[in-house]
Amino acid sequence: MNTPFPSIEQLRTQLTSREISAVELTEEYFHRIRSTSHQLNCFVSLHEDSALQAAREADSDIARGRDRPLTGIPIAHKDIFCIEGKKTTCCSRMLQSYVAPYSATIVENLENAGAICVGTTNMDEFAMGSSNETSANGPVRNPWNLQHVPGGSSGGSAAAVAARLVAACTGSDTGGSIRQPASFCGVTGFKPTYGRNSRYGMVAFASSLDHPGCLTNSVEDAGRMLSAMAGNDTKDSTSASQEPIGWSSSTRPRRLGYPTRLFADLPQSIARPLEEARHTLEAAGNTIVEIELPHFDVAVSAYYVIACAEASTNLARYDGIRYGHRSKFDGNVEDMYAQSRSEGFGMEVKRRILTGTYVLSVGHYDSYYMKAQKIRRLIRDDYLRAFHQTDVILSPSTPTTAFRLNAMDLDPTDMYKQDQFTVPVNMSGLPAMSVPCGFSDGLPVGLQMIAPHFRESELLELGIDYQNLTDWHQQQPCLPKT
């Protein structure tokens, strides 16, 4: 086993004690990226020049004692966040050559905290997918087994963090797109409360479900990333004004909600590590409270109705008129829309646009969209009720470990079921994270923890406790050296 990989805090200590310079650290990361990333296909573009320039500035800031919480820390952004002057493609043909003229608030916040962006990571097209196979840039491979998917949609971010090619990555989570790949790749994936992180500049998939968040090697790293990312933003009407995220190192016993039925149907390979994690948490003084989430079973269907409805209109702006792909096909304006969109979007995106268009149509709106919104409220109420008697709810992150590439090609709804443990959380806007809790056949297993709105500190404290007791998060995949 390798020596534990340095945490953000340890890297910061090395930088401030001048053990290593930011330029050296950045170069070291680029070296690692060059030697391994092609096996994973986890990056879309690398920003070596601007990263080294930022590293030089970081060194000068450190020298003058002007460093900030993440000064010199190399990170990457999921290709869904706009970065001024850089390509932001959402891994779609539609935005293949789109260069963002402004930066997302999250990108700015991390830049202001001193983080160095080394590039952008691969993802499912417009964040629609759970395997990273819908990317126009080709699938990402799971660093634990190259024949398996990394999960999605933040698959590139999860693989890059798992392979230690960056210290941390941003991600977005609409139905599990941070937690599911984090679980598949054995890293920590954190999705804060809806409204905690600004969505401005994060290309929209489903506005009411889209959560920016991060993927890291540890819960503590996630806390450091979130502290830098979060904050009220006047450019996002759904952004919340809340106390900053904090956490203390003192452990206290918590009441952990345990939805027994969710764990009951899991395959043994996953159930066993989760069971073990539960014992670890119990042994640490936490109490387990059995809870029920009565509307869990209908969450996936309701989620896909709402997510597709919102996506169908959020993606209407890609019409080939002002930017993005425009077909060479000559015809009238209607033809131009149809042709540009047919060429620009991939299968899964089209499927969701069509589904969304259908459920919003006259005659279907009430039976689909309205009903789904009602279910959404019921699901949220289930959680809020459970939180009357618990501090944090435990759940599996995924129903399986990382599956093989092309395993889900036949029926898209098989893929949608991948999200069954994660979508209800997005529908409720609650903060949640997935932490590695073991392996099955050499593939990581994740445990999901869910907290009440704006109680990210609960997750951070419990997660840090758990990771002090375990070393699953320190396991590193062995990639063949090339």
Binding site: T88, Y102, V203, A206, S237, T313
Partner: protein, 486 residues
């Protein structure tokens, strides 16, 4: 083409209006880009207006304030919570592929508008609703060979769409209703009222039915009428067209029509007739808007005296004739001008005559608005006060008025100068009077025969010969003396 001899007396037109009122905010409804018409294409459109990936709308609070003001002025119900919906359709000048509007929870519901029709009758027109929405950009056809230009400067301009009940029965009423709305929104200062620049655009829904019929007939919609006259003319034509179709056993097709100003007719808008399913649903990027008591209080204290109230006050308290009061309250700035003049002059009738006479004539002649007149309300009040006090004649006052306008001097100085230039030399005056009498032998004869009233005419002749630069009392005196002495 409509038959000219339709028997319109058998038919009752039913008209409802939808008026898009462009709110005069500095920035757009959901972005910080400026609202302006006078810049190059796409210069007043930012990332949000262009619907760049990742951008989000943020509501401009000013539009809410202005909508509340409108709701209050029309006694509508102001929602305690309103919401925005997406109206989805593809159009090249609609950047997001949807328009943000209010379908299910508009900011204002109900209300009435008191409309004074040209024949003097008053109609209380019910309002169905008023909701907030964003304007689209413009497609520019014909300017670029083989291409359509897209200008998104207008995209995101705040609109308040006011919908009346189908309660108007003539083109005159419809036009008067549009005019009343225009007066109200400019009075409230929520719209600049500039019809030529599209600040108010009217769509008219129109159907006809036989008198006594209670069911509404099939309707058509005439889009984008941007003047009072066009509303009237387009409706006249459409009513005739519908009646002639019905009288010849035809059926009205529900459709959208355009009024062709050049050919003075309405025409079907082809290609727009596809039955649209706009797939409305609540915009998840915008939270519902809570209208707080504080916002209501703020609107109440910002509410000006409304035109109808002011008009009644002019009649009841100032004793002005109804028509005068009505004319004075067509435009707030004009009415405010009257108020400030009256406050100093103290004589409402005389002040009103001056405002509706000399002041209005000057505005017309120079094609300026009252705000740009080089003579303030209080200055006019000072001039009128001098007439009231017998210090200057009407004619001299007119001279003073023109002098102040031309030189921007103050009124007291102008009056001083005026009086100095009055003919003070007795001999000059007498010589002038004699000349006028010599030129009017018949009138002099009549006067001598006892028709004393003719003196007024002679005074006028002298005054005009002196170009007004003379004190009428002295003229009167001189005339009487000379006529008596002969």
């Amino acid at each position: 083409m409509p038959a000219k001899n339709v028997n319109s007396s058998l038919w009752e037109p039913v008209i409802g209006l939808e008026v898009h009122v462009q709110l005069n905010t500095n920035s757009k409804i959901f972005s910080s880009a400026p609202v302006t018409v006078s810049v190059e294409p796409n210069r007043a459109a930012n990332a949000v207006d262009l619907a760049l990936p990742g951008t989000l709308p943020v509501l401009n609070k000013k539009v809410v304030e202005k909508a509340i003001l409108f709701g209050m002025a029309t006694a509508g119900r102001i929602a305690s919570r309103c919401r925005f919906d997406r109206k989805n359709y593809f159009y090249p000048d609609l950047p997001k592929g949807y328009q943000i509007t209010q379908l299910t929870e508009p900011i204002i519901e109900g209300g009435t508008l008191e409309v004074r029709v040209d024949d003097g009758s008053i109609r209380q027109v019910e309002l169905v609703r008023a909701h907030l929405e964003e304007d689209a950009g413009k497609s520019i056809h014909g300017k670029y060979a083989g291409k359509t230009g897209i200008d998104l400067n207008r995209a995101g301009t705040p609109l308040l769409e006011v919908v009346t009940a189908p309660q108007l029965n003539t083109p005159d009423e419809a036009s008067a209703c549009f005019r009343t709305l225009h007066r109200l929104v400019t009075w409230l200062d929520i719209c600049d009222g500039n019809l030529n620049e599209g600040s108010m655009r009217c769509d008219a829904n129109i159907s006809v039915r036989r008198h006594g019929e209670t069911q509404l007939g099939e309707r058509t919609e005439i889009k984008n009428l941007n003047s009072f006259r066009f509303v009237e003319r387009a409706l006249k034509h459409e009513i005739d067209r519908q009646i002639s179709i019905l009288e010849t056993g035809g059926e009205i097709v529900r459709e959208t029509r355009l009024y062709d100003v050049e050919r003075d007719e309405t025409r079907s808008m082809r290609g727009k007739e596809l039955a649209h399913d706009y797939r409305y649903f609540p915009d998840p990027d915008l939270l519902p808007v809570a209208i707080t008591q504080e916002m209501i209080r703020a609107a109440r204290s910002a509410m000006p005296e409304l035109p109808e109230a002011r008009c009644s006050r002019y009649i009841d308290e100032l004793g002005l004739p109804a028509e005068t009061a009505h004319r004075l309250t067509q435009e707030k700035a004009f009415s405010d001008y009257f108020e400030s003049a009256f406050a100093i002059a103290g004589n409402a009738k005389l002040t009103a005559n001056w405002v509706l006479g000399n002041v209005a004539a000057t505005l017309n002649r120079n094609e300026i608005s009252i705000e740009n007149l080089q003579l303030s309300g209080p200055q006019l009040g000072e001039i009128v006060k001098n007439i009231v006090d017998g210090i200057v004649s009407d004619a001299s006052a007119k001279q003073v008025f023109e002098h102040v306008l031309a030189t921007k001097s103050n009124v007291a100085d102008a009056i001083g100068q005026q009086r100095e230039s009055l003919m003070s030399d007795e001999r000059d005056l007498k010589a002038l009077v004699q000349r006028v009498l010599d030129g009017n032998p018949i009138q002099v004869e009549e006067y001598r025969k006892g028709k004393k009233k003719i003196l007024g005419y002679l005074v006028g002749q002298v005054m005009s010969a002196a170009k007004g630069k003379i004190d009428p009392k002295k003229v009167n005196q001189a005339l009487t003396e000379i006529l008596a002495s002969d």
